[in-house]
Amino acid sequence: MTQSLESSRFGRLAIDDEAVIEFPNGLIGLGGTRYVLVGRDQDSPFLWLHSVEDPTLALPVTNPFRFFSDYEVVLSDAEAERLGIADPETCDVWVTVRAAERPEDFRVNLRAPILVTGGRGHQVINDAEHAPVQMPLFAPIAAEAA
């Protein structure tokens, strides 16, 4: 089954029921339990996690491993058991993107990645040591060279 969504950001979207990701607890602090991943551009590292219930609600996300090759997701035993996720690496992992006018001001939330598996999604607390809530996505060239 396909449904139509009149997105305030993207216009009309055809949503395949199979593509809907159920978030039993929603996203932290945001409403809604049903989202889809929307990609506008094959070459872009950014996708949009778009609410199926609220046509004005969409967050850009990206694959953190594409930018941070040593990124890891560590769940506490209690959280892993609660969610029934034994190994985060078996999930698709996304992080939310705080977009900005200038690329150097982009930030991603490495502390609260979104794990997706089997049509269900959870935004979790990452217990890994270096996982800031606001991580610059694009390192300044000068700092890279230093």
Partner: protein, 75 residues
């Protein structure tokens, strides 16, 4: 806000299936045990607030396309 005084080892029951226990009272901090159903996520408030703020900021991305990235920066 409802105020309840408890001693170490005493509990508070919220609804049918959430129990908070004051496990230990130390210098300037208390240790709290929480029993809740799996469907109820539990967060430290300051982290919850920081993540909520990031989610809201992400949801307010400027209109228009995000920058295309030719070569992802790998660190």
């Amino acid at each position: 806000m409802l105020m309840i005084t408890r001693r170490a080892g005493e509990r508070i029951v919220l609804g049918e299936d959430i129990v908070l226990e004051v496990v230990d009272i130390g210098h300037g901090q208390v240790r709290i045990g929480i029993e809740a159903p799996k469907s109820v996520p539990v967060y430290r408030e300051e982290l919850w607030a920081a993540i909520k703020a990031e989610n809201e900021a992400a949801a307010h991305a400027p209109a228009g396309p995000l920058p295309a990235v030719q070569e992802p920066v790998t660190r």
